[in-house]
């Protein structure tokens, strides 16, 4: 979890009028897509890099365009513990999203080839979106990747589909979980 941590964070503080709700919802959706850490009401954070900074600056513009006020800050948490807390909360949020992908892959594994092929397309897209907002990769990241790949890999999956007893059970992700317990 420490490899990608720079210590510097980009913060967006913002206020938007309650009504109309359209800009509020648009901003909320954007922040969710970016995977921000919610520090408090109207204050969100991302590990600072040129991309995250630029993305939050555009959200700030959108807040201003929507009749609100917003500011962008570069900041460092004053203690390591505080930073760990932020990073852990973000990693946990992504881990839950990866678990959803893993569960969907397991469910589709029992389906016929057409169902599985369409699940692979959908889950790969979903997985890419989650990976884009994953700043502190966890074991679930690999597990989700493996689960979707297992759904796509023809040999192994065809065998599984023809054997009734094993249909729907994602063998590999479970095995990996045992080896790679999150720290």
């Amino acid at each position: 979890m420490t490899a990608t941590r720079s210590g510097e964070w980009v913060l967006l503080s913002y206020r938007l009028p309650r009504e109309p709700s359209t800009p509020r919802i648009a901003v909320w959706r954007k922040l969710r897509r970016l995977g921000v850490a919610q520090i408090s009401d109207g204050l969100v954070a991302l590990p600072a890099d040129p991309r995250t900074r630029e993305q939050l600056e555009w959200v700030a513009e959108e807040v201003t365009d929507g009749g609100g006020s917003a500011a962008i800050w570069l900041a460092r948490p004053s203690t390591r513990a505080q930073e760990d807390q932020l990073a852990k909360a973000m990693a946990a949020a992504r881990a839950a999203e990866y678990q959803t992908v893993i569960a969907a892959a397991a469910e589709a594994a029992g389906g016929d080839p057409a169902v599985r092929a369409s699940a692979v397309r959908r889950l790969r897209k979903e997985l890419r979106a989650v990976q884009r907002r994953d700043y502190f990769p966890s074991a679930e990241r690999d597990q989700a990747q493996t689960a979707v790949q297992a759904l796509a890999a023809p040999g192994e999956d065809d065998m599984r589909a023809t054997r009734p007893g094993r249909a729907g059970r994602p063998a590999r992700p479970v095995a990996r979980q045992a080896r790679q317990e999150p720290a």
Partner: protein, 143 residues
Amino acid sequence: MKWATRAGIHIDRATCAWLIRRHIDERAEFIFVTDPADIPAGTTAFDIPGAELSHHGGDCSFETILRRYDLTDPVLWRIAAIVHEADLEDQRYDAPEAPGLDLVLRGLSITRGDDDILTITGPVFDGIYEYCKRAILLGREPA
């Protein structure tokens, strides 16, 4: 005419610069700044917070420039869809090319400076324009 934008260019700024040079101002000169306050007087700013020619109403800067300059060429709007998805990834358009083009620009942003990136990507976007134009005229993917 002088144009200013944020330093560290990616897909939106690179395509905007190409669009400006090919369709708005053949002799455009570009200046790259890190703070909007450093934009020199008499230059037109784009894709930087506070500029008119930037993200507005869910549009990326490329789309904003097309609207402001009344550029209705359907080929440019097809490119706008790709730029929008590469930059904002909000699924407004179906543009499967976007992640690939985004990767090319991200890679260049690591190895090259802003002026170099404009020099390199100019012919790339010319090619993409020609491809999209033929696709629209033919009604199918050109060879």
